[in-house]
Each structure stands twice: as structure tokens, then as C-alpha cells.
């Protein structure tokens, strides 16, 4: 192995040879990571994010979202295909009650992802709103469900279509 490495070094420019193998590996690892993050089928979390619109627009979007639905969830993925266990649990609980709910996929919209965290001062996703009010994340939804509080909170909410 040592002999192989030694012979490989002969083909490297003097500067890299001086840096030694550790430097080489670091450079190699970095390049690989960059390739991965821009890969077409890489997870949304690791794709380069573009932040453009001013914060006010996101806030307006959020206020419109939560005003136009009795129940609204900011989640990873969509209710038919949640992309995170916590979002999945929140949807599963809401589905139990047969209420109609709106949703926004924060993985598809980095501005909303950051905007909703600012709006509620809550650092994690999912985030659930009932009748325009922030109720919490999946742990709180689950707790409300277990205590029977969710049934009460969802009273009078528009039922799901099917």
C-alpha cells in the first residue's frame, strides 16, 4: 500500500505532494460532497437554496394560508406522501378526524420553510394551525389527540370531501 501511494505521488504537482495525502483526501471529499448536493435526485434538503422574495411576502402567504383553511399544516412532503416521520404522524392524526386541511410543502419552498419558523418562533416542522391559531408540532398534536383535546379543537371544522 505504501509503495502504491508513493508511486502515485510521483504524478502529482510538487505543491500537492508537499501537502501530503491528508490534504488530497480532504480535497477529494469536498469535491464529492459538492457533486452530491447538486445531484438531480439529491434530497431537497441538500440542494442549493435560493432566497429571493422579502420576508413580508412570505408572511402574507402564511396569513392567507391559515385564514383560508380551518386546519392548515406546514410539512415536509405532501399529505399523500409525507417526507418525514413527524409530518407523517401529524397527517395521520388529522386524517383520523376526517377534517379537510390545507398543506404547504416546505421542502419545495425554502422561503416558506424559514418564514414559518420566524412567524411562529418555532424551530421545527411540521407546524399545525387550527382556526388560524398555531397549535404546535407533531408531539403536541399527538398529546392533544391522546387527551381528547383535539376533538374539541377541531369541532366545527370543515369535513374532508370523501
Amino acid at each position: 500500500m505504501q509503495r502504491l501511494l508513493t508511486s502515485a505521488r510521483q504524478f502529482l504537482p510538487a505543491a500537492q505532494r508537499a501537502g501530503g495525502l491528508a490534504d488530497l483526501q480532504r480535497v477529494g471529499g469536498y469535491t464529492a460532497a459538492r457533486l452530491f448536493s447538486t445531484d438531480a435526485d439529491s434530497h431537497d434538503d441538500f440542494k442549493p437554496q435560493v432566497k429571493a422574495a422579502p420576508a413580508g411576502d412570505v408572511e402574507a402567504t402564511i396569513e392567507k394560508d391559515i385564514a383560508s383553511h380551518d386546519v392548515f399544516i406546514y410539512m415536509k412532503g405532501v399529505p399523500q406522501a409525507p417526507m418525514c416521520g413527524f409530518s407523517n404522524m401529524a397527517c395521520a392524526i388529522l386524517n383520523l378526524y376526517g377534517v379537510e386541511y390545507g398543506s404547504r410543502n416546505v421542502l419545495a419552498d425554502p422561503e416558506v420553510r424559514e418564514g414559518i419558523k420566524r412567524y411562529t418562533a418555532w424551530p421545527t416542522i411540521p407546524q399545525v394551525f387550527i382556526k388560524g391559531e398555531f397549535v404546535g408540532g407533531s408531539d403536541i398534536l399527538h398529546e392533544m389527540h391522546q387527551k381528547g383535546e383535539l376533538k374539541k379543537a377541531l369541532e366545527g371544522c370543515k369535513p374532508a370531501d370523501d
Binding site: D45, P123, T124, V135, D139
Partner: protein, 108 residues
Amino acid sequence: MAAAAAAARQPGPVATSMQLKLMEGLKPISLAIQNDSHKHAGHSGNPTGAPDAETHFTVTIVSSAFEGKSSVTRHRMVYQLLQAEIDAGVHALALKTKTPAEMGLKLS
């Protein structure tokens, strides 16, 4: 490999730091920090799946500091104490926040 497995069982630096902050900030009568990162290896938040990853935790806290506070307020208290850890890469915190009374305990 044996060393890596042992490392995964020991609380890492992030868990230790969270424990100190929660002990100080909430004076809990019970505190459990469980590292769930291995269950999310390769997923978002823990893409490398390193055996010593500290990205996903379940934190169970029993504290009288939660007395008379809503769940949202309780979770916010925890998030505020752990802001630095969340900013530094803790991706998910499943929280169970209870008061001693809710656990059927009486403080003498």
C-alpha cells in the same frame, strides 16, 4: 467497531451540553435524553449516518417549571434553552414536557 458502538451508547458532546442547559434552566425532577439519530441514518438531517451522529433526539422532561403553562409554551421554553444546539445541527427534537403533578407525583 466496538469503540464506535460504545461511543454511540455514551452521551455525546451535544447530548451532554443539552443536559446541562436543561438541568440549569428547568431544574427538572426527571430528564431523559435519548439519541435517535441512528434511526434516521441516511435521511435528511443525518445524511452521513455516522455512529456518533447527534441529530435526532427524544427529550423527556418532568419539571415544575411547566406548571400552568400550555404545551406550546413548554416546548418553546425548551427550544429557547437549546437554541445553540438546534442552530448547530440538531435536526429533530421530539419533546415530552410534563409537570410532576401530571406524572402523578407529589413534591414534598
